[in-house]
Symmetry: C2
């Protein structure tokens, strides 16, 4: 079908939908042209479907963007951001003014190149890195299912995702699809912008799957339709809502850059402005004769009416909430408040450890902490990427396996680290839940960009990353983290904890569950460590680093260490004391928190004596605290396969090595 007849067909099918969609197309053309940067093609191609979704199917109220029972709408192909901004503006989200649209992609605007959560209301998650919007949406659908079971009178909404080919090519897309199909997330609906184009050209260059068949194989309900036929879209969305046992895919055949006479259906429409001339031709083609950024009055009014379509329902829901027996608990949960009993629970957990000190691996200490915390905090929802018995993430209060019929508090994510981390973002973004999930620290690599997005958004998620060094032993270098602590510490706004014992592990957990604007990553050991802390009610981990032992008054040396190496440093300090040297051992469970302390505190902890550091990892970054990397007793490169004790000895991470290095440094 050529351009003209395709346009005529779309207009004839549903003139109202077509006219409303043209508002989105025109805004996308104008904003991208004005910014001279952006992606007009996808908004123009998906406008008809987005219009139908907002017009008739999405449950929302533009005047109450935070309504907890709203449907979630995720634009997984985030480069199509002008579609979302256009929808928010036209439906009347208060912050999405025309000025913001005019300042698309400019400094200080809320209309970033890719949708950024926390900038504009109605942006449910940050998208752009492909595939992740889809996987994050799975987390939102999981959250809905979990909360609907807990608050059946108050939670009943859907998660709608728009995405393109890129989200399906990325492996994480399949992880999300597979998990959603397995769990039968019937309220998750994908709208697939099947336009046959990626950046490099036609999808035929690199992609020739039968997508409906792939999704059917993963347990999905699949519908195909013409993405410019409003009636077909309406029917498809109705069918998707009617299916309750399986997630639904609506594969919409679309034309990228729909309306543009010379670029529609080509990769040229994807990532470059149409420009004045082609923009004008496209508008003429679509029968659009307003000035740039101008929306005809009647269409603007009709769009505004769409924005308030859900107001009555929202008001009714609020009345239901007010009358509900769950009113208080639901509101507290959505607000992210910890239960009043929490303080007592964490104090109790601490008291137990002081009463009966634990010489255990810090992963085991984490399990002990979780036993107390998950009991006290109903919002906590756990899981692991198929390493439950290793991560020790499953404890009695969250023991129920999450299934569609019976959404327990433990999610079997399968061998899908990236999908897990992105789903955790969705669980956190949804509100009402505090997700944590486990894998081996080395496989933080697989999940890395989702951890980055959690940090960028500032979500209170917690990663339980065990087997944190060569201490894991025989599995060898593919499984032994070396550079991971450094590479994670380099991510802005991520608290990386490497606790030294059971107390620090509990303290790290305590900080993690309270954290609202920063995700937490716990790097935990496979091997046992003694409990170094024996008393005291203060959470010292909150300072990031502190003097855990002091031998003598005027320090000859300061020994910095983290995690399993703190006890080695303490042993070394004892030997040094016997040989007449005064020292302090500083445990540094969280660099980020330490660096946020007042300078006086930091100076006091670090001292003025020479310093060396001990950490069974790359020395990279430690020069923040020591003079040179040679002063770090760590890993010079990758690990090896052997029992852990042998590895520590062979790589020279021993008490003797610490003592020797300390003496060399003192002697200088």
């Amino acid at each position: 079908m050529n351009n003209q007849s395709q346009i005529a067909a779309a207009a004839a099918k549903d003139p109202e939908n077509f006219a409303l969609a043209n508002c989105l197309r025109a805004l996308a053309i104008d904003a991208v042209n004005t910014a001279n940067s952006g992606h007009p093609g996808a908004p123009m191609g998906m406008a008809d479907a987005a219009t139908m979704l907002f017009r008739k199917h999405l449950k929302f109220d533009a005047s109450a963007p935070d309504w907890p029972d709203r449907d979630r709408f995720i634009l997984s192909n985030g480069h199509a951001s002008m579609l979302l901004y256009g929808l928010l503006h036209l439906t009347g989200y208060a912050d999405m003014t025309l000025d913001q649209i005019r300042n698309f992609r400019q400094w200080g605007s809320i209309t970033a190149g890719h949708p950024e959560w926390g900038h504009a209301k109605g942006v449910e998650t940050t998208t752009g890195p492909l595939g992740q919007g889809l996987a994050t949406a799975v987390g939102m659908a999981l959250a809905e299912r979990a909360l609907a079971a807990e608050f059946p009178d108050l939670v009943d909404h859907r998660t709608w995702v728009m995405h393109g080919d890129g989200c399906l090519q990325e492996g994480i897309g399949q992880e999300a699809i597979s998990l959603a199909g397995h769990l039968g997330l019937g309220k998750l609906n994908l709208l697939y912008d099947d336009n046959d184009i990626t950046i490099d050209g036609p999808t035929s260059i690199s992609f020739s799957e039968d997508i409906p068949a792939r999704l059917k194989a993963c347990g999905w309900h699949v519908i195909t339709c013409d993405g410019h036929d409003a009636k077909a879209l309406d029917a498809a969305m109705t069918a998707a809502k009617a299916e309750t046992k399986r997630p639904s895919l609506i594969a919409m055949k679309t034309t990228i850059g729909f309306g543009s006479p010379n670029r529609a259906g080509t990769a040229k429409a994807h990532g470059a402005p149409l420009g004045e001339e082609e923009g004008a031709l496209a508008k003429a083609n679509l029968g659009w004769d307003s000035t740039p950024f101008e929306i005809p009055t009647q269409l603007a009014a009709n769009w505004h009416a769409i924005g308030t379509r859900g107001t009555d329902a929202r008001i009714a829901w609020e009345a239901k909430l007010a009358a509900s027996e769950h009113s208080e608990s639901f509101t507290a949960r959505v607000a992210g408040h910890l239960p009043e009993t929490y303080e007592r629970a964490v104090a109790m957990a601490r008291a137990c450890l002081f009463e009966k000190p634990q010489t255990v691996a810090t992963r085991k200490a984490s399990q002990i902490a979780l036993e107390h915390l998950t009991e006290a905090i109903p919002a906590m929802i756990g899981g692991s990427a198929d390493l439950t018995g290793s991560n020790l993430t499953r404890v009695p209060a969250v023991d129920g396996q999450f299934t569609a019929e019976n959404p327990g508090r433990y999610i079997g994510y399968g061998v899908r680290e990236f999908g897990m981390a992105a789903a955790m973002n969705g669980l956190a973004l949804h509100g009402g839940l505090k997700p944590y999930g486990g894998t081996f620290l080395v496989f933080s690599d697989y999940a890395r960009n989702a951890i980055r997005l959690a940090s960028l958004m500032g979500l209170g998620v917690t990663y339980v990353m065990t087997h944190d060094s060569i201490g894991l032993g025989e599995d060898g270098p593919t499984h032994q983290p070396v550079e991971h602590l450094a590479s994670l510490r380099a991510i802005p706004n991520l608290n990386v904890f490497r606790p030294a014992d059971a107390i620090e592990t509990l303290e790290a957990w305590d900080i993690a569950v309270r954290s609202e604007g920063t995700p937490s990553l716990l790097a935990l050991s496979r091997q046992d460590v003694p409990q170094l802390r024996q008393a005291g009610s203060e959470n010292l981990t909150r300072c990031g680093a502190y003097i855990i032992r002091e031998f003598g008054k005027e320090r000859d040396i300061t020994l910095l260490a983290t995690g399993t190496e703190v006890s080695l440093a303490v042993e070394a300090a004892e030997i040094l004391q016997a040989e007449g040297y005064a020292s302090a051992v500083v445990s540094m469970p969280c660099w980020e928190l330490f660096d946020a302390q007042p300078e006086t505190y930091r100076e006091e902890v670090l001292g003025s004596a020479p310093r060396i550091a001990v950490e069974a990892a790359s020395a990279f970054g430690w020069t923040r605290y020591v003079d040179r990397e040679a002063d770090v007793i760590g890993m010079p490169g990758f690990g090896a396969s052997a029992p852990a004790e042998r590895l520590y000895a062979e790589f020279g991470i021993t008490t003797e090595a610490i003592v020797a290095r300390a003496k060399t440094v003192i002697a200088k």
Copy 2:
């Protein structure tokens, strides 16, 4: 079917295959028990299939492990390493002695917990991180196809992969499957160990796909069979070999821990030793009555005969090679030698830049370098994860799109960064090709664990990672690398280059294509930079860092910088000179190479004056060269969406800021 009858059925179908397979099972039981660590279940379950593969189908010669035209055998579920070690030992690979088997997972042995490339012959790639063996195998199959087109008389072999559920749950598995199906890699065969078990328990916890249907949807030829029925396996492998247009999946229904009376078919067989008692019971069950590590003489002889099954074919191939018109060129290619014309080509490229200096983005400079290099080096094979026009990775000599019919030198990897990086590992491991591939630097996150494996193996692959800072502008923080340089520099044995201009970019490429034991990552700009270097024949980038400008004799300050910020530092130094301050500007395109220089050189370059650093990225790690992170003019956190110039100004990465900081430091 219960244990006993299943064993009886397997034995009845093909007694010889069953008996040979029991050798593998017994060795796995014994080695894992002796190490008291490892995974017996998968080797026991896959032994029948592996035996049939080696007995009748795999083209190999244990006496010539490096035979270039051998079939490649990849154990993607690397935790089943004892299966591979058993096969290599039994078929007579010289280095895989019984002592090595006895020292499974011990310090200094070649029998690491997961197969490590370069340790034992016959281990074609390092595996363990799930899904990557499969994706690496796709790279090997790509290499075979490319070389078969170039050397049709000398290259004709297959790539066989064994894998379990984990490799299919990982997203990268789907990326590999999708790409292989799209490209019709008919000589790629998967043997899927479909045993219904993952670490956390039955796959039904998290995985319920119809795998045959998923792979058919991706264009695969699919066969299902009983994985303990040798005749069915034989027929399936024969059918897989007969299919030439599509890759083949053989989905083998197997029992994990086959033979173990109390653990077969359960997660308990997966990752823990059977122990003495259960091991003995399993052996009795299988009718195995030898002592630990003992192989009955006749079976040992039969296995050895399998190991030399391919000797005649290999000798015939060598004769063909000797007689071939391609003999010399093929041998040189496989050895990884650069053509003699190469030196001239790189000198010419340099001369062109000096004659006509280029003010271009370093990604553009990379394209210019590639034009020369790909012309001179036929082994280079390029590609991009759907960002060709942004990465500028496609140049005339590699312009041919890779298809099954016509394997050109440019691979459209699609939006699959992780799959691309793993496939590049396979291309490099295969021999005969030098792969490079492009994406945005920020998406190195997606590919990260494959980059790690390349570093661990020491492969000569090159990553072309463009849009290396906030300089990419409007796309915003999801697309702006901040922590990526630091996090990549933390990976051992990876050369991270951030060239300052067209000459350094060429030099980095020159080092990359010569590098045999270290992968190279080029972080390249979107925005233009002036060409700072105007003359000289020496590759200064090889030193990692060097004085690019010196103003005055006795330095008051040293300005360290990389990439696009070097020209800013030069401008700042000029201003400082005008104000009476002497300085040196040090360009540091590659920290790793600089740190490998002699101390005298390093001291000379860094000087004794105070130092500050400039890099539009996280300051993390820079304290290796400067006193404190406050002396780094960099990024304090994530970026933002706006035009690049605005971002540089807002984040204070400007000439003025450098001058001001320099003066503050000098004044101290």
